[in-house]
């Protein structure tokens, strides 16, 4: 009994040290210079720009990954014309971003689409910058967050099976109607859950974005790379302020996620 209490206590202490203390430390750090210090830290033009960049990336990445993630999940589970071999291959490719370090993911994009690569040079001539610009950052983040929605939706699709959809077809519903009226209500909360994970991951993405963006002030700097730069420049209060904003978003998402989970299970 005492042993068990001890273990439980130890677990709480460990997680407190790992998770709680840093958040509190950030909060205290952000208000080092009082409320004004925090407002100054977040209100700097470079901070506002960086937060805006993060915001833009979140919106684009979430939208693209939601649409294509749900589509790919549907194909991977339902499309019999794909053949089991191809399906298995696609299925493992989906997990690639989980296995590959984000920095390496970013590096691959630089190597493929950077100014020194053939494709990148071609696009550059056409006036489209991919690397060291927003498109590259979006692509890098898409890569990193790609599996999240698919992996949430696929098991649900597998579990409900195709028979409700077939029943809808027999009753005269074409694929689009069937999706919205039969499939969507079943996968809805899984998609929302996947979206929350995607948003959280996108907010916090650092490695891939750093490599692809070049971290150019007022151009390609995101909230996370700004925090990194602030720390490098010993601008600790400003770094804490931006970090606190990110942390607050994450906590908000976490609470939202809990609520979604309870909906999903009911």
């Amino acid at each position: 009994m005492t042993m068990r209490r001890l273990w439980i206590g130890l677990t709480f202490v460990l997680f407190g040290l790992l998770l709680g203390v840093p958040v509190v430390r950030i909060a205290i750090g952000a208000f080092d210079g009082g409320v004004q210090g925090f407002i100054d830290g977040v209100g700097r033009p470079e901070a506002l720009h960086a937060l805006m960049m993060t915001g833009i990336i979140v919106v684009i990445v979430t939208a693209v990954n939601t649409v294509f993630g749900v589509m790919l999940a549907l194909y991977l589970v339902r499309a019999n014309w794909l053949g089991p071999q191809l399906k298995r291959l696609l299925n493992s490719v989906v997990d690639l971003p989980f296995a590959v370090s984000p920095i390496i993911g970013g590096l691959m994009i630089v190597l493929l689409l950077g100014p020194d690569a053939a494709l990148g040079a071609l696009l550059n001539k056409a006036g489209i910058d991919i690397v060291y610009a927003l498109p590259g950052m979006v692509i890098a983040t898409l890569f990193v967050t790609f599996p999240l929605i698919i992996r949430e939706v696929m098991p649900v699709l597998q579990e409900i099976g195709a028979s409700q959809e077939e029943a809808a077809h027999m009753l005269g519903a074409y694929p689009w109607t069937t999706f919205w009226r039969v499939t969507w209500p079943s996968i809805r909360w899984s998609v929302v859950y996947g979206v929350v994970l995607t948003v959280a991951r996108t907010l916090g993405e650092f490695g891939a974005v750093l490599v692809v963006s070049g971290n150019i002030l007022f151009k390609t700097q995101t909230a996370t790379t700004l925090v990194y730069q602030d720390v490098e420049n010993f601008n600790v209060t400003a770094a804490n302020s931006v970090a606190l904003v990110l942390a607050a978003c994450s906590v908000g998402l976490l609470l939202f996620m809990e609520w979604v989970k309870s909906r999903k299970e009911s």
Partner: protein, 354 residues
């Protein structure tokens, strides 16, 4: 709807699910597709529905080839094995779905749903969700939903498989009655021969992708066209050397011929129960089982073990009793042919007319 199928084939990889199946079904009939699991029954049903496309062969409804029509346009009602009810919709929502999709007007939908709720005895359950219903109720919702858009053909895939035995019986007669009343052409898949015999006008026996025989239950029972059908329908014992039994000596004229004997082809009893002792074999009772409404008796004749029933009204036999066994007929088959042979000694050689 008149259904005509010719030369239907379907392969799944290496597996030949349906092999050159042809049949036609007259309007208003209730057809049972009967056969062992994995025999291709469901594949045939799904090809009729358009959920699976045949590798070759034609499916014709009302003289119109429908192979290239998507399921949405075939005008078929389908009751799935596990009902596949829309679980986030109420009973009403489920039944109305097909009508909403077809853009019926609201008042008409309401009227039709009410009519079907009434017909299927689901009054009072309109607002329930599928998970709040019993198995039998779900089946009736699935049935009502399939019928709502007024289909010309109703397909049912193992409609009673997921229901416990007692309710299954009730539902069977309910379904039969319902289909009779509506006069809709219906095809159902089952692996349960009692179900097929009890419910269907005609049975199609499907085995390993082949249509073995099509006919009324009585025809199939009385005159099975293949050894598979003979063995699948009813109970039976296969006898390797049928010519060893009294009355079937002629079977030796066809070497390699085996016999299939049903319990109801056999009579057993003590000497005084038979008028024509010369046609009977003698055997020994090896087991008796009480079957609720009769005795099931296993009897040993030399190396051959036969099974038969005995009325509860007759004297009770005991294990080890010496009994006489009269085999009225046997179903004979060899590699080439099959036929029914009557006991040749049953006809009194010296009839005495009074």
């Amino acid at each position: 709807m008149h259904v005509e199928v010719t030369g239907l084939n379907k392969r799944f990889g290496e597996f030949q699910a349906v092999a050159d199946v042809s049949f036609s079904i007259a309007k208003g009939q209730l057809i049972g597709l009967l056969g062992p699991s994995g025999g291709g029954k469901t594949s045939i049903l799904r090809m009729l529905a358009g959920l699976e496309s045949p590798d070759s062969g034609d499916i014709v409804f009302h003289g119109q080839r429908v192979n290239d029509l998507p399921p949405q346009e075939r005008g078929i009602g389908f009751v799935f094995q596990n009902y596949a009810l829309f679980k986030h919709m109420t009973v009403e929502g489920n039944i109305a779905f097909g009508l909403e999709v077809k853009k019926w007007n609201k008042a008409k939908i309401k009227e039709r749903v009410a009519e079907l709720v009434e017909l299927t005895g689901l009054s009072g359950f309109e607002k329930r969700y599928p998970h709040q219903l019993s198995g039998g109720q779900r089946q009736r919702v699935a049935f009502a939903r399939a019928l709502a858009p007024e289909p010309q053909l109703l397909l049912l895939d193992e409609p009673f498989a997921a229901i416990d035995a007692k309710i299954r019986h009730e539902l069977r007669s309910w379904l039969r009655e319902m289909i009779d009343r509506l006069g809709i052409t219906s095809i159902f898949v089952t692996h349960d021969q009692d179900e097929a015999i009890e419910v269907a006008d005609e049975i199609m026996i499907i085995n390993k992708g082949n249509l073995e025989q099509k006919g009324s239950p009585w025809e199939i029972y009385k005159d099975p066209k293949t050894p598979f059908v003979a063995g699948f329908i009813g109970e039976s014992t296969t006898v390797e050397d049928i010519s060893a039994l009294k009355g079937f000596k002629e079977a030796a004229n066809w070497p390699g011929t085996k016999g299939l004997i049903r319990p109801e082809y056999i009579e057993i009893g003590k000497e005084n129960e038979f008028t024509l002792l010369s046609a009977t074999e003698t055997g020994k009772v090896s087991h008796i089982h009480f079957r609720g409404s009769e005795w099931l008796v296993e009897v040993q004749i030399g190396d051959i073990k036969l099974v038969t029933y005995r009325s509860l009204e007759k004297n009770v036999l005991q294990v080890g009793d010496e009994v006489h066994v009269l085999i009225h007929r046997a179903y004979l088959f060899n590699n080439k042919d099959n036929w029914v042979m009557e006991n040749s000694l049953k006809v009194d050689p010296l009839p005495v007319h009074i």
